[in-house]
Symmetry: C2
């Protein structure tokens, strides 16, 4: 598997971005211990900046896990905006609710249990035959880049972040 961000670059960036909020570190520890996937801090910070820039009224997250990325969204949202967390696991949502409850951010969050999308993992840039999950990601990327309603970019942070702007 190609590491999308060179480990030395990732280390440099992680050193640059110390995080004073103990909840962020706690969630990162939880991810490491349980193996539950999170976007991790570098992507979290990136999502934070995008959210501050755009100031959306509503963010709907499909598959929030235990709330790591939603926490970054919520920190960047104005008090009149909202992030909706969805996850199939009540346990994940309960954890997220607890974390959000420890801060004022719970007013900006809504928690909904339900079947989220299954996470696919793959290596789209690697040569050779592709497994089914990689094929699915390739199809999704093809769709996003070829669809005229969207202007799409992939940011090679951590596992890769597809960013699409929808016209109108």
């Amino acid at each position: 598997m190609i590491p999308i961000t060179d480990p030395r670059i990732e280390m440099y960036m992680m050193r640059m971005a110390p995080e004073p909020d103990p909840r962020v570190a706690a969630m990162e520890d939880k991810a490491r211990e349980t193996g539950l996937p999170i976007v991790d801090r570098l992507v979290g910070r990136f999502l934070y900046i995008l959210t501050r820039m755009k100031q959306p009224k509503l963010i709907v997250e499909l598959g929030s896990g235990f709330g790591y990325s939603a926490y970054w969204f919520a920190r960047a949202l104005s008090i009149r905006s909202k992030v909706v967390l969805t996850d199939y696991s009540q346990e994940n949502l309960a954890y997220a609710r607890k974390i959000f409850g420890e801060t004022g951010l719970i007013d900006r969050a809504e928690f909904r249990a339900g079947e989220a999308l299954r996470i696919a993992t793959g290596n789209v840039a690697e040569e050779g035959t592709k497994d089914k999950e990689t094929e699915a990601i390739l199809r999704f990327n093809d769709f996003m880049f070829s669809h005229e309603e969207f202007f799409t970019s992939i940011v090679p942070l951590r596992d890769g972040v597809l960013l699409a702007y929808k016209f109108n």
Copy 2:
């Protein structure tokens, strides 16, 4: 030197983002032929999305070269907004003016000749002794990450894009 984006990932992303505007390809060719630095297409597309999201009234670019990134900014700006291109080279600005002039985008651009910042290149994530330019970049990054007025992220696209949100 560490390639910030793995070449295979960059190739995959480039294939995904064909560019119908012949001026973009012409500027990319010019950069290859002359060795003048440009941010290149993947960063251009990223800047385009950021600009569409934020819809700034004014973009001031320090060191526009012959206008490659400014062209991406201008394409994303509303008609009431403006990008100011600065460069020390009248020749660069004349080229940019010509490119912008071939489209409606010239209304959104202002061209100013003057001493821009000198471009420093270096490898901040590599171990070992650092040259003066690398030291300068390290100091700049340290400043941006430690300054409380800014929330900073580095996006590892191409040569790396430092992205900072200024509070208030």
